[in-house]
C-alpha cells in the first residue's frame, strides 16, 4: 500500500511545529516596535543595544542549560547554585594565588587556571545531579532542588556569605572587553553557545538521543540508548553552561557571592517554557529560547526607560505573557486536535 504524498498535510504539520517560533517572532517585533515608538530617543539606540547585550547573556546561558535538561524530560533547578559555586572557587583561587601587583602577562595563566577551575566545578556539579537522577532515580525536580541547596550551602559555608572581591583587575578588564568597540565578550560567548548547542540539538546524534529520551525513557532503553550516560552528559553540559554564566556574573560584578542571581532559577524555567520547550520533555528549540530571552530583555530595557514605571512590571508582563501564550496555545491545540480527529477518521 504505497501511498502518494499529499503535499497539503506535511505543509500544515510543519507550520504547526513552527507556529510557536512564528508567534514568538511576532511578539518580539511587537515589543520592539512598541518600545521604539514610545521611547524613540532611548530605546534601540546603539548605547541601549550595547547595554542589553551586557545584560542577558548571564541568565540566557543558564536558560539554555535548563532547556537542555527539560528536553530530556527533567529540569535543572541547580543552575544558579552551580554558577555561584564555580565563580566562588575561581575567585578564591585568584585571590589566594595571584601575587599582589603582578604584571598582566604573569596574571594571564592564573586567569586561565581560574576559568578551568570554574568549568571543572560546573562539570562536576552537573555530573552529580545527573548521577542522582539516572542512577538513584530521584525525580529531577527534587534532585536538583537538593543540589541547588547543597551548592548554595557550600558556597555560603566557605565564604561565610560574604562577597569575594579584590579580584585581579585583568579579570574584569578581559571580561568586559568589547569587540569592535561594540559587542561585549559575554554576548559573543552567548552567540557561540547558542549556535553550538542549537547545532548539537538539531544535527548531532547526541541531540537526537536527548529528544528521544525525553519522549519515552523506556523505549529509549529498548532502542539501545544508554539513558544514564545521556542524562549525566546533559546535566554536565548544563553545569558547564552554568559555570560560564557564573564567570560572566563575576566579571560584571567584579566579585563572586553565594546569592547572586537568586531569582534567575524560576525566570530561566519561564524563558524555556515560553521559548517552546515542552515541560514534559522531547520537544523544543534553542531558537525559541533565544527569542524568548530577547523579548524579555527588550521588555525589561524598555521599561527601565520609564522613570515612573518600576522594573517589576517586567515580572507582571512576563507572567501575564506566559499565561496568555499558554491559554492561546491550549485553545489552538484543542482546535487542531479536533481537526486531526476528523482527518484520522477520514
Amino acid at each position: 500500500m504505497q501511498s502518494t504524498v499529499k503535499p497539503a498535510i506535511p505543509a500544515k504539520a510543519l507550520a504547526g511545529r513552527d507556529q510557536n517560533l512564528l508567534r514568538l517572532l511576532v511578539m518580539l517585533v511587537f515589543v520592539f516596535g512598541l518600545m521604539t515608538v514610545l521611547r524613540p530617543n532611548e530605546f534601540a539606540t546603539l548605547a541601549d543595544f550595547n547595554s542589553m547585550m551586557r545584560q542577558f547573556p548571564e541568565y540566557g546561558i543558564m536558560a539554555i542549560g535548563i532547556s537542555l535538561t527539560m528536553i530530556t524530560g527533567g529540569i535543572d533547578l541547580g543552575v544558579v547554585g552551580t554558577a555561584n559555586l564555580s565563580a566562588i572557587f575561581a575567585a578564591k583561587f585568584l585571590i589566594g594565588a595571584v601575587p599582589q601587583g603582578a604584571p598582566p602577562e604573569q596574571v594571564l595563566p592564573y586567569l586561565a587556571a581560574a576559568v578551568a577551575i570554574a568549568l571543572a566545578t560546573g562539570l562536576l556539579c552537573g555530573a552529580f545531579a545527573g548521577l542522582l537522577i539516572s542512577r538513584f532515580r530521584i525525580p529531577a525536580i527534587l534532585a536538583t532542588l537538593g543540589t541547588q541547596q547543597l551548592y548554595t550551602g557550600i558556597a555560603i559555608g566557605i565564604t561565610n556569605g560574604r562577597p569575594q572581591s579584590r579580584l585581579p583587575l585583568l579579570y574584569s578588564t578581559i571580561g568586559n572587553t568589547e569587540f569592535f568597540g561594540f559587542f561585549p565578550l559575554s554576548f559573543v560567548i552567548y552567540c557561540a553557545i547558542a549556535v553550538g548547542i542549537g547545532l548539537m540539538l538539531s544535527r548531532s546524534r547526541f541531540g537526537t538521543c536527548m529528544y528521544m529520551l525525553g519522549t519515552n525513557a523506556k523505549a529509549a532503553r529498548f532502542a539501545g540508548l544508554n539513558n544514564a550516560s545521556i542524562i549525566i552528559r546533559t546535566y554536565m553540559v548544563s553545569g558547564i553552561l552554568s559555570s560560564v554564566a557564573g564567570l560572566i556574573m563575576m566579571a560584571r560584578a567584579n566579585s563572586a557571592k553565594a546569592d547572586y542571581g537568586a531569582p534567575y532559577t524560576l525566570q530561566c524555567v519561564l524563558i524555556a517554557v515560553l521559548g517552546g520547550i515542552d515541560p514534559n520533555g522531547g520537544f523544543g528549540k534553542i531558537t525559541g529560547v533565544t527569542l524568548a530571552i530577547l523579548i524579555l530583555q527588550f521588555l525589561s530595557s524598555g521599561l527601565n526607560m520609564f522613570n515612573n514605571i518600576s522594573n517589576f512590571y517586567r515580572d507582571v508582563i512576563w507572567g501575564g505573557v506566559l499565561i496568555l501564550v499558554l491559554v492561546f496555545n491550549r485553545l489552538f491545540s484543542i482546535r487542531a486536535e479536533r481537526r486531526a480527529v476528523r482527518r484520522s477518521m477520514a
Partner: protein
C-alpha cells in the same frame, strides 16, 4: 426466547463529516453472552460509547428493557443498568479496594460526606457477589491485573446491572486468569445479567459467547450464532480479505548455530535454559504470562543479566552488560509493548525508524547527514510497505500494524544475526498481522535467525519452524509445528490436560 435487554437499530454517528457508524444494529437478549468483534476503527468503541450514553447518535433508535429512548446520558445509562468495564478498568490505583468499590455508589447517591463504615459495608457486599477474596484495605496498585479487573467487575455489579459491557477484557490476562474470568462471566449470566464481550480473539469468542456481531467500517457485516463460525470466516468478516497461511519450513541446510544458550538461569525467572538457533530458523517460544518467557528474551537482549549459564554468539561466549552490547553483537529485539517500550509516539516516523542507526548516518564532524536519513527512510517505506504519508509526521498517526513495521525497520538497518520478537502482532489488525508474518518468513529465508515469543498459538504454529514450550521458568517440550495442534500446545503450557 428471552426478551431483549438492548436493541439498537440503524445507529449512525459521524464526527466532523466522517461516518464512524453507518446504521449499525445490535440486539442482546436477557442473560445472553454476546460477542462484538471488529478491527481497530471498525466502530466498536463508538458503538459502546453510544450504548453507554457518552455519544449521542445522529440517527437510529435505542431500546433498553423495552423502553425506547431518543436521548441517553451516561448517568441514565447507568440508572438503566448498563455498565462498561473499560480496558484500563478505570480504577484508582492509589486508593484502597474498599474506596474503589464504594466511591461510585456514594457519588451516585450525591453524598457530600464519606462514611467509612458504609463504604466498608458496600465493598464487602460487592466482593461477596462473586466470591472475590481480597483485602479491602489493600491499595489497588498492589493487586495483580486480574484482581484489578475483578474489582472493576464487582463495582459494576453494585449498580444492579442488567448489561455489562467488557471492552477487550482478556487482553492483559494470563490464560489461567482468563479461565477464572470466564467462570465469573458464566456466574453473572446465571443471575440473568447479559454480557457484551468485545474481543477479536476467535478462541475466546467461541468459548464464552453464544451469539456474535461483527462490525467493519462502521457497518454490520455478520451476526449469528457462534457455532457457525470458524477461523477462516471470522478472519474474512473482520478484514474483508481471504488469508491462507501454510506453516513455515526452512529450506536451508542446517548450519552451525548462530546463537547457543547453555544452562542459562536467573533466580526467580527461569532456570536451566538451553537451546541452539541456526540461520534461517524461526524458533517459537510459547508459554503463559509469568512463565519466564519475557525475562528470558530480555536477558538475551542485555536488559538483565543471568545468574548462571552461558550465551554463545557464532561459537564465541559473550557477556552482555547492556542493550548496547547486545546490539553490537547483532541482536535485535521488538518489545512486547509497542506503545510504551517500542515507540516514541509523538516523535516523527523518521526519528523512530533511524534511532538505532544514527551513528552510521553521521558525517565526519558527527553531524547527521539529512539526505542519508531521507534516503534510508524512503527505502524502508517502500520495502515494508509502511502506509506513511510523510515521514516527518508523528508515529502515533500510524495504525498499529504500521507502527510495528516502523519498530521492525529500526532493526532491518542494522547488521543483525538474531532478531527476537515478543508478541509481534499483539493489537495489530489481521491484515497487518499477515504482512508481518510474511516479512518474518522472508527475513528468515534470507538467513536471519528469528525467535518469536507469543501466546497467540495459531501464530506460533504458522510462523515457527520449531516450538519450545515454556512453563514455570523452564522449557518442558520441543515440538514440530507440522505434527502438533493448538490444543496440545495449550495443554502443555498450562499444564492441564
Amino acid at each position: 426466547m428471552a426478551a431483549s435487554i438492548l436493541k439498537v437499530v440503524g445507529i449512525a454517528k459521524s464526527f466532523g463529516g466522517v461516518q464512524a457508524l453507518k446504521g449499525v444494529s445490535l440486539e442482546i437478549d436477557a442473560g445472553e453472552i454476546h460477542c462484538l468483534a471488529g478491527e481497530n476503527g471498525s466502530g466498536k468503541s463508538t458503538l459502546i460509547k453510544v450504548i453507554s450514553g457518552v455519544h449521542e447518535p445522529d440517527a437510529g433508535s435505542i431500546e433498553i428493557v423495552g423502553r425506547r429512548l431518543s436521548r441517553l446520558s451516561p448517568m441514565e445509562a447507568i440508572a438503566l443498568g448498563i455498565q462498561v468495564i473499560y480496558q484500563d478498568f478505570s480504577v484508582f490505583p492509589n486508593l484502597s479496594v474498599m474506596e474503589n468499590l464504594a466511591l461510585n455508589m456514594e457519588l451516585m447517591d450525591k453524598r457530600a460526606l464519606m462514611n467509612w463504615g458504609r463504604a466498608r459495608a458496600i465493598a464487602a457486599h460487592a466482593v461477596s457477589l462473586i466470591g472475590f477474596e481480597v483485602d479491602l484495605d489493600e491499595r489497588v496498585e498492589n493487586l495483580s491485573v486480574a484482581d484489578r479487573q475483578l474489582v472493576a467487575i464487582c463495582r459494576a455489579l453494585l449498580h444492579d446491572s442488567k448489561l455489562i459491557i467488557m471492552d477487550e477484557p482478556t487482553s492483559a490476562l494470563t490464560k489461567k486468569e482468563v479461565k477464572a474470568l470466564f467462570a465469573v462471566i458464566k456466574s453473572l449470566q446465571s443471575r440473568g445479567i447479559s454480557i457484551l464481550f468485545v474481543s477479536h480473539k476467535l478462541d475466546e469468542v467461541f468459548e464464552i459467547s453464544e451469539r456474535f456481531t461483527i462490525l467493519r467500517n462502521g457497518e454490520n457485516v455478520a451476526a449469528g450464532s457462534t457455532e457457525e463460525l470458524d477461523h477462516r470466516t471470522f478472519a474474512f468478516h473482520m478484514t474483508g480479505r481471504e488469508f491462507a497461511e501454510a506453516s513455515y519450513k526452512s529450506d536451508r541446510a542446517p548450519g552451525p548455530p548462530v546463537l547457543s544458550v547453555k544452562g542459562l538461569s536467573q533466580v526467580g525467572s527461569y532456570e536451566g535454559i538451553s537451546f541452539d538457533l541456526a540461520q534461517g530458523e524461526i524458533l517459537g517460544i510459547t508459554g503463559l504470562l509469568g512463565s519466564g518467557r519475557t525475562e528470558l528474551v530480555e536477558t538475551l537482549f542485555g536488559i538483565s543479566s543471568p545468574d548462571s549459564g552461558s550465551i554463545e554468539i557464532a561459537g564465541r561466549e559473550v557477556r552482555m552488560r547492556s542493550v548496547k552490547d547486545a546490539i553490537a553483537l547483532g541482536i535485535g529485539y521488538v518489545p512486547s509493548d509497542r506503545l510504551t517500550e517500542g515507540l516514541f509516539l509523538p516523535q516523527s516516523i523518521e526519528r523512530n525508524a533511524v534511532i538505532g542507526v544514527l551513528g552510521r548516518l553521521c558525517n565526519s564532524l558527527g553531524l547527521l547527514n539529512r539526505r542519508a536519513v531521507a534516503e534510508l527512510m524512503s527505502k524502508w517505506i517502500a520495502e515494508l510497505s509502511i502506509a506513511a504519508k510523510d515521514p516527518s509526521l508523528p508515529v502515533k498517526t500510524l495504525s498499529g500494524g504500521n507502527q510495528q513495521k516502523v519498530v521492525l525497520a529500526r532493526w532491518l538497518a542494522s547488521e543483525l544475526s538474531v532478531l527476537i520478537l515478543n508478541g509481534p502482532t499483539m493489537g495489530v489488525d489481521i491484515g497487518a498481522k499477515y504482512d508481518i508474518h510474511a516479512l518474518m518468513r522472508e527475513l528468515a529465508s534470507k538467513g536471519l535467525a528469528i525467535i518469536i515469543v507469543s501466546d497467540d498459538l495459531p501464530e506460533v504454529l504458522a510462523c515457527a519452524s520449531r516450538i519450545l514450550v515454556m512453563r514455570d521458568g523452564a522449557f518442558i517440550q520441543e515440538l514440530e509445528p507440522a505434527t502438533t495442534t493448538e490444543s496440545r500446545l495449550g495443554e502443555l503450557s498450562t499444564g492441564v490436560a
